[in-house]
């Protein structure tokens, strides 16, 4: 079980049970839908940009603990970031969960998801919210799929 605790750190369980920024948004500047075809889980992301800065970000949807926690932590991290910073963060995060490499930059609490790369079937869970917010940030219409 110790292995598994590396995947499901306490912080992840906390975010799973009490996700931050969970809910709909009345006045988004962009929304995007995400879909994980592996499990059928879906997520809707709401974004309110002001100039180039993420003023508010929220999400709703179904998903496993990994995906919910990832979405929850992501929203707390992206708030206040510029569009460019957000995209950079996406790239760092994506690299971390696929390779296990802890990136140089500031990934803050996201590092609790660094164990995911050992579970290839779950990588898509971790990146679902991120792909979706990348689409929202880039104004893409199509449903974000986890690669």
């Amino acid at each position: 079980m110790d292995d598994l605790r590396e995947l499901y750190q306490e912080l992840i369980l906390d975010h799973n049970q009490n996700p931050h920024n969970y809910g709909e948004m009345d006045d988004p500047t962009a929304t995007a839908d995400g879909f994980n075809p592996l499990c059928g889980d879906r997520l809707t992301l709401y974004l309110r940009m002001s100039d180039e800065v993420v003023e508010d970000i929220k999400f709703v949807g179904s998903g496993c603990a990994i995906s919910k926690a990832s979405a929850s932590i992501m929203t707390t991290l992206l708030k206040g970031k510029t569009r460019k910073e957000a995209i950079t963060l996406f790239e760092m995060f994506h690299k971390m969960v696929t390779t296990g490499e802890l990136p140089e930059g500031d990934l803050g609490k996201l590092a609790v998801l660094s164990g995911v790369y050992k579970y290839p079937a779950r990588v898509k869970c971790a990146v679902l919210a991120w792909h979706t917010s990348k689409n929202a940030l880039e104004g893409k219409e199509s449903v974000a799929k986890t690669e």
Binding site: M1, D3, L4, L7, Y8, L13, N16, Q17, L38, C39, G40, D41, R42, S62, G63, C64, A65, I66, Y119, R122, C125
Partner: protein, 417 residues
């Protein structure tokens, strides 16, 4: 629970599960999995593996048209597998048996070789809301391309067919009724004999998706009197890459070929060709030789046991599992039909099925989490996924205890009270 397990194990003493487990190399390895994903694919007994090996090590020749001894041996083994298959499902003879790569190809064969040439706008195809995607998508595609209409027999909340409206659904426009014999989600054993009789009355053809029933029940296609009957080898102790389509002879004769190529022809000229006799007309190219032989060995393995005992045993195991699972806090079990097969879908409040499967894996328990290739069922239940435990006669009540204990642990692990 431990007491119960012991009691269970005693009452099943007539089936020597330990002896059976010895026949399965994977159950005698260094780390023995608690394998409860048998509805997805089963483990393989040594006799099946060695039948495959024997072909590759001793007579790996191509079949048909060979004049040499190795080729004749391969042909005989391949055609013997067809005979065994015919006997296994009580087909009148082996010409009713078409080998395919699986249930999926068997159903697609019918949708292509019969459906595309016989359906037209206004015609109706009737399936059920309980189907596996393999018995949905081929019909969606053929309906799209021919203009026929695809209709569904609805299901009830507890996983049975809702036949209240059957007389409207099954009507003179219905050209084929294609239905799952035993649900891979709920375990429900559907009243296919009754529906086949009804379909015959109005002149519709019938197809039974028996992927989940053939591994667990003696089936009798002659008694069922269906037109088509499909199942897979890998779900009944046999190899991957082999399946069976039973098809009535008149239909085989009348149908167009499916795939074109070697073996399925009689004469080829540059302008046109004629087809081989049935069933070979539907087996284009070098067949899945080793796999058919392996499937024959799997059927031999099953028939070498007392099937009544096997069925009783799996039934007891399933009942025990249902009872044990129900004791777990937050447990929902989907489907409560009787008779049923050894498959149970469930969810535990507060744990996503994928997280549950992940934690169970840490306990060495293999179950499936997901939509089980039956998204219409998930939509009907308003969920995206379930966890599914499915058994075979090599499973034990101790393994079910492990399943339940692991679920309890998972609840704790995930911080549930």
């Amino acid at each position: 629970m431990i007491t119960m397990a012991t009691k269970e194990d005693q009452s099943s003493a007539t089936l020597d599960v330990n002896a059976i487990r010895h026949d399965f190399p994977i159950l005698s390895g260094s780390t023995v999995p608690i394998y409860l994903d048998n509805a997805a694919t089963t483990l393989k007994p040594a006799s099946v593996i060695s039948a495959i090996n024997k072909y590759y090590e001793e007579y790996s020749a191509n079949v048909h048209r060979s004049i040499y001894a190795l080729g004749e041996k391969a042909t005989k083994a391949y055609e013997d597998a067809r005979e065994k298959t015919a006997r296994f499902i009580n087909a009148p003879d082996s010409s009713h048996i078409i080998f395919t790569s699986g249930t999926t190809e068997a159903i697609n064969l019918v949708a292509y070789a019969w459906g595309r040439y016989n359906l037209k706008p206004g015609d109706e195809i009737l399936i059920t809301e309980m189907e596996h995607h393999s018995n949905i998508i081929p019909w969606q595609l053929v309906a799209r391309d021919t203009g026929a209409t695809l209709r569904y027999i609805p299901i009830t909340e507890n996983g049975s067919l809702d036949l209240s409206n059957i007389d409207e659904l099954l009507n003179p426009k219905t050209k084929i009724v294609a239905m799952i014999h035993q649900s891979n989600v709920f375990g429900t054993l559907n009243p296919v004999a009754q529906l086949i009789a009804k379909a015959k009355d109005i002149g519709a053809l019938t197809l039974v998706d028996a992927a989940q029933s053939v591994p667990h029940l003696p089936v009798d296609v002659a008694a069922l009197d269906c037109d088509f009957f499909a199942f897979s080898g890998h779900k009944m102790l046999g190899p991957t890459g082999i399946g069976v389509l039973y098809a009535r002879l008149e239909l085989q004769e009348a149908m167009e070929p499916f795939q074109g190529g070697g073996e399925m022809i009689q004469q080829v000229t540059m302008d046109s060709s004629t087809w081989n006799d049935v069933p070979w007309k539907f087996e284009a190219g070098t067949p899945n030789i080793a796999q058919a032989i392996g499937l024959g060995a799997a059927m031999e393995y099953i028939t070498s046991k007392d099937r009544t005992l096997l069925i009783q045993y799996e039934k007891r195991l399933t009942n025990y599992a249902i009872k044990s699972l129900q004791d777990i806090t937050g447990m929902t079990i989907y489907g409560d039909s009787d008779p049923r097969g050894p498959v149970i879908s469930f969810n535990v409040d507060g744990i996503h099925p994928h997280d549950l499967a992940q934690v169970l894996d840490q306990h060495n328990v293999a179950v499936r989490a997901g939509h089980h290739c039956a998204q219409p069922i998930m939509n009907r239940l308003g969920i995206t996924a379930t966890t599914r435990a499915s058994f075979f006669f090599y499973n034990t009540s101790k393994e079910i205890d492990s399943l339940c204990e692991s679920i309890e642990d998972a609840r704790k692990f995930m911080g549930l009270k």
